[in-house]
Symmetry: C2
Amino acid sequence: MQSKLVKDIKEAIRLSGLSDGMTVSFHHHLRNGDMVAVMVMDAVSELGIRNLNVNISSIFETHEPFIEYIRDGVITGIETDYMGGSVGRAVSEGILEKPVIFRTHGGRPSDIISGASPIDVAFIAAPTADPMGNCTGKFGKSACGSLGYAFADAMYAKKSVVITDNLVDYPLVDFSISEDYIDYVVAVDKIGEPSGIVSGTTKITKDPVGLVIADYAARAIDASGLLKDGFSFQTGAGGASLAAAKYLQDIMLRKNIKGSYGLGGITGYMVDMLNTGCFKALYDVQCFDLGAVESIRTNPNHMEVTAAHYASPTAKSSAVDNLDVVILGATEIDTDFNVNVHTDSNGYIMGGSGGHSDTAAGARMSMIVAPLSRARLPIVVDKVLCKSTPGNTIDVLVTQRGIAVNPLRPELSERFRQAGLPVVDIFELRDAAEKLNGKARKPQLGDREVAKVLYRDGTLLDTIYNVPVK
Amino acid sequence: MQSKLVKDIKEAIRLSGLSDGMTVSFHHHLRNGDMVAVMVMDAVSELGIRNLNVNISSIFETHEPFIEYIRDGVITGIETDYMGGSVGRAVSEGILEKPVIFRTHGGRPSDIISGASPIDVAFIAAPTADPMGNCTGKFGKSACGSLGYAFADAMYAKKSVVITDNLVDYPLVDFSISEDYIDYVVAVDKIGEPSGIVSGTTKITKDPVGLVIADYAARAIDASGLLKDGFSFQTGAGGASLAAAKYLQDIMLRKNIKGSYGLGGITGYMVDMLNTGCFKALYDVQCFDLGAVESIRTNPNHMEVTAAHYASPTAKSSAVDNLDVVILGATEIDTDFNVNVHTDSNGYIMGGSGGHSDTAAGARMSMIVAPLSRARLPIVVDKVLCKSTPGNTIDVLVTQRGIAVNPLRPELSERFRQAGLPVVDIFELRDAAEKLNGKARKPQLGDREVAKVLYRDGTLLDTIYNVPVK
C-alpha cells in the first residue's frame, strides 16, 4: 500500500520545500476550535523559517499566538476574509508592517484560482483522512461538516498537506477533497477543540428588540414578492437573523411555499427548514452547529459546495447569483447604505466581510438586520468607518424603529407599505439613533495603513488605518 | 432566476466563439448510445465551421457519421483513448491527414490539466442538469451513472456547454459537475439511445474455454499473496474477466476476505461484490450496466471519481496507484508481454488503451486473460503489431493452456506453482498458438502514419500505419 503519511508536521514542512518569504494557507472550518494553524506555525518557527505570508480564510481568538509570530518576524503578511478579537486588535495597533489584505469568501477562491493570490503550501485540517489524502469534514471526533473553503487551497497550492486526527484505511468512502491534489498526510492527536468547532446549537435571540426586528424582517420578505415557490435564502447565525428565519419558516409552512435552496453557512435552523420542506436542498459551504454537521453527513439533499461554487465572482456562475434573499448583520450602516463589518466604533478590526458583500451583490434582496444602537453606540451613521459592503448592493435595513429601503429599490418601499410595514427614511433612523445615544464620535485614527479591504472583484474598497496606542 | 439556457446547440456554438481550427471535446459515458457528439458536429457543419480537432474520450459505432465530417474537412484531427469499428477502419485506410493521437484514460486528463492538450469548447452530455449547468449522470431517462471522464473537460475547457434531455429546476440536488465551470446549457429531446448507453446487464461468459481461463485467473489471484483483507481490484467487462471476478468473489466470501475497493469501469458484478462485503467501496469512473447506475445513485459507498483521480499519472496520486490486481484483455500479446489493444490482425484500428496501460502500470499484479487464439488467429505472437501497453508492466498472462509469468516477477511463478497452477513459459504458449492456427501472418501495412499511441506519460509508445486499400 502506498502512503503519503509522514511522521510529523515538521517533516511535511521540510518535504514541502517551504522556505522564507513563501505563502502558507489555512481554512477556518474548525472555527474557534482550530488547533492546526497554530500547530503548523509552531513547527515553522522551530524550523527557523521566517517572513511568511499567511493566507487564512478567517482568524479567530484561537489564533492569538499569531501575534507572537508576527512580533518575531515569522509571519510578516496576512490575507484573510475575517479577523476577530486579539489579532485584529494587534493589527490595528500596527504590529504588522505590511497591510493585511482582506478579501471576501468569494473573492478569496477567485484570486487563488486566477493566480492573483498564489499559495506555496496549503495545510488542510481534515477531521477524517486516509493515507493518500482523500479527506472529509463529515466524520471523526473533530467533525465540522463542509470543507467548502479548503478546496481552492488544496487544488491550487503548489503543495498540499492534510493534517488529521482520524486516519482511516484507504480508500476513504464519501471523501470531499480527493487524493489527486494532496502531497503529504500527517496524523496528529487532535486538530481541534470540539466545543470551539461548532457551537452545540446556534440560538435564536430572546431579546425583545431582536424579536421585533426579526418579525419585521420576516414580514418584509413575505411582502417583497420574492417569497414564492422556488424561493432561495441565506441567513447569518446571529440571534436576530435566526429568529427571522424561524418566523419566515412559519410563514412558508402556513402558506405552503416550497422553496428551492438554502445557502451559505448552515445552522440547525436551516436544516429544520430543509426537513420541513421549505427547501429542496441546502448548498453548504460551512456548518455552524452540530445539527448542520449531522445533516450534511446523512442527508443527500444537504450538499457541500466549494467556496468558488458558493460565491466566486469569476466562476462561470455561483450559488449567490441566484439567491432571492439574504439576511446580514452590520456593525455600522450609513445613510448611503454602506455597511461596515470590519471595525468597531473605536476603529479596531474585529471582523471582516466573509460572504457579506458576495451575497449582498448576488441576492435579489439583501437585508441588514440591526438594532438602532448597541452598547449606547448608534448603528446608523452618516458615514461608516470602513466600507465593507457597498451601499448600492444593500436593499433594506430592518431596525426596531422601522424599515429603511434603499432609494434604488422604490418598488420594495411600495410593497412594504402596502403590507402595513413601518417604512421609514434612513435619515430618520440615523436621527433616532443619535437622539438615543448622541452623535457617533469618530475615533482618532493614525495615518498608517494596517489593512486594505478588497471588494470581491479585487478592487480596493477601503483602507483601514492604525489606532494610535495611548 | 438567472439561467444559462440557450435555445439550441447552434446558439451555444455561436456564443462559445467556436471557429475554424479550434478543439472541441466530448466524453463517452453514453457509450454506443451517445447522440450528442454527432448532434454537435451536425450543428458545427451547418454553421460552416471547419478544420476542427475533436478530443473525445472514446469513439464508438454511434460516431460513424464522423467519417463524413472527416471527408468534408469539418473534422481534421482526432484525439481519443479508444476508437471502435467504422471510424477506426476509415482512419486506418487513411481518411485523416493528421495522425490520430491516442492517449490513455489517465493520460487524457493529465494532458488537459497540464495544458498539453487544450480544449476550446467542451460539450458535456448530461443525463440531468439545471439551468445553471449543475449536472449529473445519475438521474434521467438517459442515466449513465458516473461522469468521471467529463470533469477535466468541464473544468479546463475555455468554454463548457452542458447538453441535457432532463432539465430540472435550480439547484440540482446531488450534482456531479458544478455550475462554476459551465457557460451554457442546452435542452434537447434526447441525448442518447438507452439500449446503447448501458447494456441491460453485462454477462459472464458461458464459453467453456473462457470459464477455464476465469478459473485459473481467480486461483492465480488467490495464490498471488495479494488476496487478503484490504485487497483492491479492477476488472474489465469482458465475459471471461467477469467470470474471473465471480470466481474471485466466491473465494473471498469463502475465506471471509474483506477487500478495500473495486475500481474502474463498474459492472453489476462489482456492485454485487460491494454488497456482499468483498469491498468497502467502489470508486467508479464509468458505469457499464444498469446495476452499476442504480448502485451509484443510491449507495453512498459507491462513489464517482474523476478520470484524474482514477488514473492521471501527473496527479499527486490516483486510485490506480494502490490497486492490487487488475484483469485486462488483449487482442495480441507478445513474448515480451507487450500488449496490443489498438489494432486487429489486419492492422485495422479497432480499440485503444482506455485504462489498460494506466492500471497495468499501477497494479501490483496486472493479469491478461485471453484464449490462445480467436477466429483461428493466434493471440500470443512474437511481436505485437501495436504496443499499447509495455510488457514490463504486464505480470501474468492467463490462457486455457496455462499461465505465463513475466520473468520480471519470478516470485509469482513460484507461488502459482506451489498452488498447483499450470505455469508455462510464454514461448510455449506462442508455440501452442501457432500449432493450432499457423504462424501469425503479418499484414502488409503502408508507410503513412495514421495514429500515434502516446503512453500515459505523454511519450510516444508506437505509431500505427495505414492499411493499403486494395
